[in-house]
Symmetry: C2
Subunit: 112 residues, 2 copies
DNA sequence: CTATTTTATGTCATATTTGACATATTAGAA
DNA sequence: TTCTAATATGTCAAATATGACATAAAATAG
């Protein structure tokens, strides 16, 4: 029942293309949403790691608590740009963000 | 003369914070722009690798040639979201995007 | 070189994102 | 439990991104 997943995403506000006959997400759409969710998840985990409230983080990036909540929920109303800026403000490096996407568990890993 | 760099970015449309006394970009702003430029650079190189014109790529993502040009130039008027969607449409994987950010030269590298 | 294709740049109406705010829900402590 | 801090959810005006279009500049043939 892929219909379920599709509905959930659309309720969240994602615009999903008509895709295949079985109404599955095409791989690109899956990957795109996956990337957003991983990034937003990192925002949440890093904020917590630093013991900050959403309110504190919001001030640090010149935004509001509700925006941070939406960002951490991966809502489509928040951009990857804002998420990346937020991660950087949290002290997360470009390399760490890269490692998140490659699936490497060690955030500070660097290839030879 | 960091002033120069700052001016160039502002002419391009980037909004730069007041930053330090020497009007340098704070590290986060540097990193953010760096990330955007690396991503946009990958769009350009991958499009070329596939022998596509900007017009062709534009059609593939439901956009326009001018938007692709701006994206490849890393102009602030184009979002990371659009760049990522574009890369995925070009067949670039999440892992490859990650490797770009970690600085790994081999796009298909995966850590043990 | 000239013609043709490709890419860059500027503008604009529309669409989406944004911070701010109110308020609901949840988590955690006493 | 009740009280309180934290987080989630909904709305909205302002800010920003977007596709489309025109046209300039640059690249590439021929």
């Amino acid at each position: 029942m892929k219909q379920q997943k599709r509905k959930q995403l659309e309720e969240k506000g994602f615009r999903i293309g008509s895709a295949s006959d079985f109404l599955e997400l095409i791989p690109e759409e899956e990957s795109y949403i996956e990337i957003r969710l991983e990034i937003s998840g990192l925002v949440k985990s890093q904020r917590r790691k630093r013991g900050w409230t959403q309110q504190q983080l919001a001030r640090a990036i010149g935004s509001s608590q509700s925006r941070v909540a939406k960002m951490e929920a991966g809502e489509p109303s928040t951009s990857l740009d804002l998420m990346i800026k937020t991660l950087l403000r949290l002290g997360v490096s470009k390399t760490q963000i890269g490692n998140l996407l490659t699936g490497n568990l060690n955030p500070d890993f660097e290839p030879a």
